[in-house]
Amino acid sequence: MKHDLILRVGVKLLLPFMLLFALYVQFHGDFGPGGGFQAGVIAAAMVILYAVIWGVPAARRVVPMGLVERMIPAGVLIYAGTGVMGLALGGNYLDYFVLLHDPAHGQEWGIFAVEAGVFVTVSGTMTAIFYTFAERER
């Protein structure tokens, strides 16, 4: 579809806003609907849209499969690492109260770190699923 001028220009305009919206959903999760799952899917949708227009090989040059496959465990590792931080700082596993001096702040940052991990894993997983299915027939 990369020969269609309107699609190409339109999608080019759309992509940065999709990423921005993903980040908005990610960071606004404290105050409204949102969080790592939704943001991760939106971010992956950006990659998928790019791949639909310019083809999967082009998308794999921008976001290589090796990176995507490592994002999946890396995100979960961020989550598990946050839990272990709680252990290291003298609390129970996944204890956010002890992360900072103020327990409420600790909760905020703990959730922030976990959601960041969720974002990495979910966007990686969604992109990986797309790549795997899209590449199969070639």
């Binding site: 496959e69 465990p73 839990g83 272990v84 709680g86 129970n92 596993y93």
Partner: protein
């Protein structure tokens, strides 16, 4: 750090799985698997010792007080199951390297170890958690990993088996969630201990009864109780040898543990077995499994498939013990969870060694293998005798307790059925022994040599355990009796 053992029990294999996926080196992945399996086994042993000495352990994830937060709760029963799962994992880990290298393509080995560790994580999580919904999450972690493990088998039918198990397993897990949803709407809690405390007032409502039905069917799908077992034989027959041995020894046992937990810890023996006809249902279905599935096993030509059908039959013995719901019956059932895991683990590992050498576990190809691989087949014979239930092995111990429990109720016919089940086991194990020792060697078996040490040692460790715990029953029966007393509300 000992205070955090309950959390580390699940976190260590989880992190090891993530590192495997991140590092992508199969030798390194095996090393991580070995280290993580042994560490979890050590932690499970420490936890069980602490439970035996000090009583129930409660660990609050994230320092949120139960029933609001997720609680990890370890008592005698799940301490024992935890140690069983971790110990089997530890025994199989050294075996994995050569067997996996022979059966799975180089680039997929990392994923095998990742999924193996995730499966271990999920199974340990189901056992250790005290939160009913958390059980579902861990159940799906272990199940999804299991589907991948099965699909990694060499035969193309492995894909079909994995697909069928995926459909049935998902239905089972979803039924479990529906059941928990009903209980949650009636009690307003997901913590198992809290649920048990609150369920009294609403116990006989239609919602709770419907929830019980959903939970029973869902979990029985997972544990392969007789008419719901159709996913199991193909899944075990075509999965890689290491996966089969691990799953046969642990996955169904964990589901059985969950069933015991729900019946006895949430509903209580009085409600589940006196107000509802669960005893009748379980005794009938268990008998059908013991006699029916074992008979089907006797007609199989692929030994892994034969052992898989035999698993369905052996699970019948465990559910029989649960159905009898007496001190003796429950002791027998819980002991058989451990014993069956040991002997099926040993049998499948022996078959894995045969598959490693001759590339097949079909009876025709195995003819005469007993003389070429004497140590492997000797292990098969000893574990097979245990499966039959000959005295001096673990199989005898559990059947003894089940027979006593049946006599306690005056059910002579049940004792006869248990003995008949042993006779059928004698037939199918006998077929393998006949082929392996008394037939002229087949082409594949004629040139085979004894399996390497890294395969033999784990096989013999489990085989030796079959004999050891058949003679010294202090550990298994002692703890199982305590767990049974605890579940029936009599013990500490």
């Amino acid at each position: 750090m000992t205070a955090h053992l309950p959390a580390l029990q699940v976190v260590v294999p989880l992190v090891a799985a993530l590192l495997c996926a991140l590092l992508r080196r199969s030798a390194l992945a095996w090393g991580l698997t070995l280290a993580a399996s042994w560490a979890t086994a050590a932690m499970a042993a420490l936890l069980l010792l602490r439970v035996l000495a000090e009583g129930t352990i409660s660990y609050h994830i994230g320092s949120w007080e139960p029933p609001w937060g997720i609680e990890y709760r370890i008592d005698v029963l799940n301490g024992l199951v935890l140690l069983l799962v971790a110990a089997v994992g530890a025994a199989i880990a050294p075996y994995a390297r050569r067997s996996v290298a022979a059966e799975i393509a180089e680039e997929k080995q990392v994923w095998f170890y990742t999924m193996y560790l995730l499966c271990l994580t999920g199974l340990l999580g189901i056992v250790i958690t005290g939160d009913a919904f958390n059980v579902f999450v861990f159940m799906e972690i272990s199940s999804l990993a299991t589907y991948v493990l099965i699909a990694l088998g060499r035969d193309r039918r492995a894909l079909l088996s994995a697909y069928q198990y995926l459909i049935m397993g998902t239905i089972g897990a979803t039924f479990y969630v529906i059941g928990i949803g009903f209980l949650y709407t009636m009690t307003g809690t997901l913590n198992i201990a809290d649920m048990a405390a609150r369920i009294g007032e609403v116990q006989s409502t239609r919602t709770v009864l419907a929830g019980t039905a959903f939970l029973t069917v869902g979990i029985c799908l997972k544990l392969a109780l007789f008419p719901l077992h159709v996913w199991l034989p193909n899944a075990y027959a075509y999965a890689p040898s290491v996966a089969t041995a691990f799953l046969a020894a642990t996955a169904t046992k964990v589901a059985i543990y969950l069933l015991i937990r729900i019946y006895f810890s949430i509903f209580g023996a009085a409600f589940a077995f006196e107000a509802l006809p669960i005893t009748e249902v379980f005794v009938v279905l268990s008998l059908a499994a013991i006699l029916g599935a074992s008979t089907v096993a006797a007609f199989q030509r692929n030994v892994k498939r034969m052992l898989a059908y035999s698993s369905v039959g052996q699970i019948g013995y465990i559910t029989l013990g649960i159905g009898l719901a007496s001190q003796l019956g429950l002791t027998g059932g819980i002991v058989h969870i451990v014993n069956h895991a040991l002997m099926k683990g040993a049998l499948f590992l022996a078959m894995g060694a045969v598959a490693y050498r001759i590339g097949s576990v079909r009876l025709d190809d195995m003819a005469g293998i007993g003389r070429r691989m004497p140590l492997t087949m000797a292990s098969f014979v000893v574990a097979g005798l245990s499966l039959i239930g000959s005295p001096g092995t673990v199989g005898f111990v559990s059947k003894w307790y089940l027979a006593l429990a049946a006599l306690e109720r005056g059910w002579w016919w049940l004792v006869a059925a248990i003995l008949l089940g042993s006779v059928i086991a004698l037939v199918y194990i006998g077929r393998v022994v006949e082929a392996a020792y008394f037939r002229a060697p087949a082409a594949a078996a004629a040139t085979a040599t004894e399996a390497p040490l890294s395969l033999l040692v784990p096989t013999w460790v489990l085989t030796a355990a079959c004999v050891w715990f058949g003679i010294d029953t202090e550990l298994t029966v002692g703890i199982a009796a305590r767990a049974a007393a605890f579940l029936l509300g009599a013990g500490p």
